[in-house]
């Protein structure tokens, strides 16, 4: 079947401002992913089309883009959802500066990520096994399940760049960074709880969330983002993990 793709393009070396370019592809299959179509355009028609991608199977988080108005991973969207003669519009995710075509500057996003101290801190000595060697810290399956959902995050930025609060104010840490913080706040092995809550209680922290709920449907990993943000808010109010 035939597919029509409209792409928001911009080359800083040539263009004063972004423009829309339209491509028509024949012999598409309903099971083709949007990424495959973008590749066909790049490889067969115009090599200057620029995008990020790597795994092509939804785990590396490189190819978040706005597809028909929604933030998706191009490798996780199949043509079949757009009907018989699919028309697809693709543009870069919003709220981050465009470098070229579908490639945006990810540095502000990763700066927010780093700001929430996204790493486990536990300075107490680990348990020692019968052979005198260190063993794992024990964690009950229930305690492990408490933060399972937020361990799935692949830092694709689909949630953060779907958030009107982030669009309005780039200083807001954004949903992805809060998801990352959640993963450690609710991990009972972590010892940095208070510092984490303090960081997120900052004016540009979790309170900038206005529960618009854009982030949850944007997550290609099915993480309950808004719920995670709500849990962090409650932990801040209570000043503890098990509010």
């Amino acid at each position: 079947m035939q597919a029509t793709i409209r792409i928001r393009r911009f080359n800083p070396e040539k263009d004063k401002k972004p423009y829309w370019a339209t491509y028509t592809l024949q012999d598409c299959e309903p099971t083709n992913r949007v990424l495959e179509l973008l590749h066909r355009i790049k490889w067969e028609i115009d090599g200057t089309l620029t995008l990020r991608r790597s795994c092509a199977q939804g785990i590396c988080g490189s190819d978040a883009m706005r597809i028909n108005g929604r933030n998706r991973l191009a490798c996780k969207v199949l043509l079949q959802e757009f009907g018989e003669n699919p028309k697809i519009q693709v543009e870069p995710i919003l709220g981050l500066p465009v470098i070229k075509d579908l490639v945006v500057d990810m540095e502000p996003f990763f700066a927010h990520y780093r700001a929430v101290m996204p790493y486990l801190v536990n300075d107490s000595p680990p348990p020692i096994g019968p052979d005198g060697k260190p063993r794992e810290r024990l964690q009950s399956p229930e305690a492990r399940a408490r933060y399972d959902d937020t361990t799935k995050c692949i830092l694709c930025a689909a949630c953060t760049t779907s958030c009107p609060s982030f669009w309005a104010n780039g200083a807001y840490v954004g949903p992805a960074a809060i998801v990352q913080a959640h993963r450690f706040i609710f991990d009972d092995r972590d010892q940095l709880l208070q510092e984490r809550l303090d960081v997120l209680a900052d004016p540009d922290g979790v309170w900038r969330c206005r529960t618009v709920y854009n982030c949850t449907p944007a997550c290609p990993r099915g993480i309950q983002v808004t719920q995670a943000i709500g849990e962090v808010k409650r932990a801040i109010r209570a000043g503890k993990r098990d509010y």
């Binding site: 070396e13 115009d46 200057t48 991608r53 590396c60 060697k133 260190p134 492990r144």
Partner: protein
Amino acid sequence: MKTHQHDVIILGAGGAGLMAALYASRTVRVAVISKLYPTRSHTGAALGGIGAALGNEEEDHWEWHAFDTVKGGDYLTDQDAAEILAREAIDAVIELEHMGLPFDRTKEGKIAQRRFGGHTNNVTGKPVRRACHAADRTGHMILQTLYQQCIKNNVTFFDEFHVVDLIMNGDKPAGAVAVCLRDGSLHLFHAKAIVFATGGWGKCWEVTSNAHSMTGDGAAIAFRNGIPLEDMEFFQFHPTGLYPTGFLITEGVRGEGGVLINGRGERFMERYAPKVKDLASRDVISRAIAIELREGRGIKGGRYLYLDLTPETVRRYKAEAGENADYYTPEYIETKLAETCDQGRTYAGIDPVTEPLPIQPTAHYAMGGIPTNVNAEVIADSTNRVIPGLYAAGECACVSVHGANRLGTNSLVDLIVFGRRAGLRAAEYARDASFVSMPSDAGRKIESELNRIRTSNGSTRPYVLRKKMQSTMQDMVGVFRNGKDMQKALDIIRELRREFATNIRIDDRGSTFNTDVLEAWELGCLLELAEVTTFSALNRTESRGAHAREDYEKRDDQNWLKHTLVYRNGEEGLRVDYKPVVITQYQPKERVY
């Protein structure tokens, strides 16, 4: 060209590179240079588990893990390396837990373990629970955890800097050259020690589990700078790639009890591996699948088989084996195999909880690569002469710990154990060594090659060459091979290389994020490695592990219990040499599962 100076540079930011970075950065100045943001690395696509004989679920010993690794490698594994791998796996996994890795837990709160192909109780021969896992996204969690620790430890990263060459002063490594994607500028990284952690080259094949970025850059760069490549004929086809995309469906599915079913509804692995059945090693199962397909027992006559993990089927077979399976519910599958469920639903339109998944073998993992010793030091020849200051770890390296066929979970073990060794040894070397001076023409050769690509005005778009290479490798250098086809493949690949050098067409002449040029350059790497792979495979006239020849069906220890080393010999030629296999306590014997 802008010049940077660091004691140690690490090329690549997957599991091996990050592990090396964590260790090296404790004592010296380190920079990690990666063409992707680190969390985009393909370690994140590893699913089912990391093997370590913790004995949390049942009796296990690292010696059993070592033996399984040697047997899995069809006795081409260097046994000293396998012993290190299995022994240090235990500490390494515990250390990952201390770093925060969210492993699944047993009732007692210990790290949970599951069965995996080729991992056995050496007394009973039955599968053993050795694969430590975080649901079925273990690689993702390893990658995230290591990156988190790197942030904690303020490791310096050059993200989206694409390494395109080594800098050599005579035969001494002095650094590396990288393209900054953002503005296209070339950067020279002057370093005392250089660690290759650049991953594999599954993109040589048409059906592969590998990411688009798995183009073997590091191995190709090393090879172009006079370093041999070891055991390139051994490339693993994972039995369960999703049909038709080839995306990886974890072996953990079978570890949890899933079974392979052919078009007649038979659990055919009972015929090929009576003892461990669906948990035989990957080469054995991929061959079985290829035979089933060839003999017309695909599903509905098609080019695929079923991987069935529905509760109904799994419970039936577990009951037959006298095992309790009450726990194996739809909810259990959703938790333990969450990624698999998502993959089936997204890419095949199939819910694996209620229907079997269509699968086919998929090109997955390079056993061969840049030769190293057990300290991750790159070696230059068959006498194991070390090249001072050069290290390699992870998939791009060949220690050789995987021999002729890697066991499932051992790639993650490899990159943690040998990534750590690489980082430690590189730092130790850099503390005492001085910088090798930079030659005045550093980076000029690759600069002119990139300019050639950028301005090339031929008639063939690179993707045409890439497709031809991939279909050639798929059809002629796949699960089964023979001399006639491989000679043909070698001729085709050499023709493609000539075409690449003289007649490609590039559209993007700019400098900002020019992936048109860099993808073409990556194709050059793939073509080079496809050539070496085919040449090595044609040269080895026996069948062993993943290298199964229809014209030489038997393993031949008399003549071939040795590693292949291939060197570039002039522009066009290749030269082969050999290196003995290290045998410590496991004498080669027939391999039966």
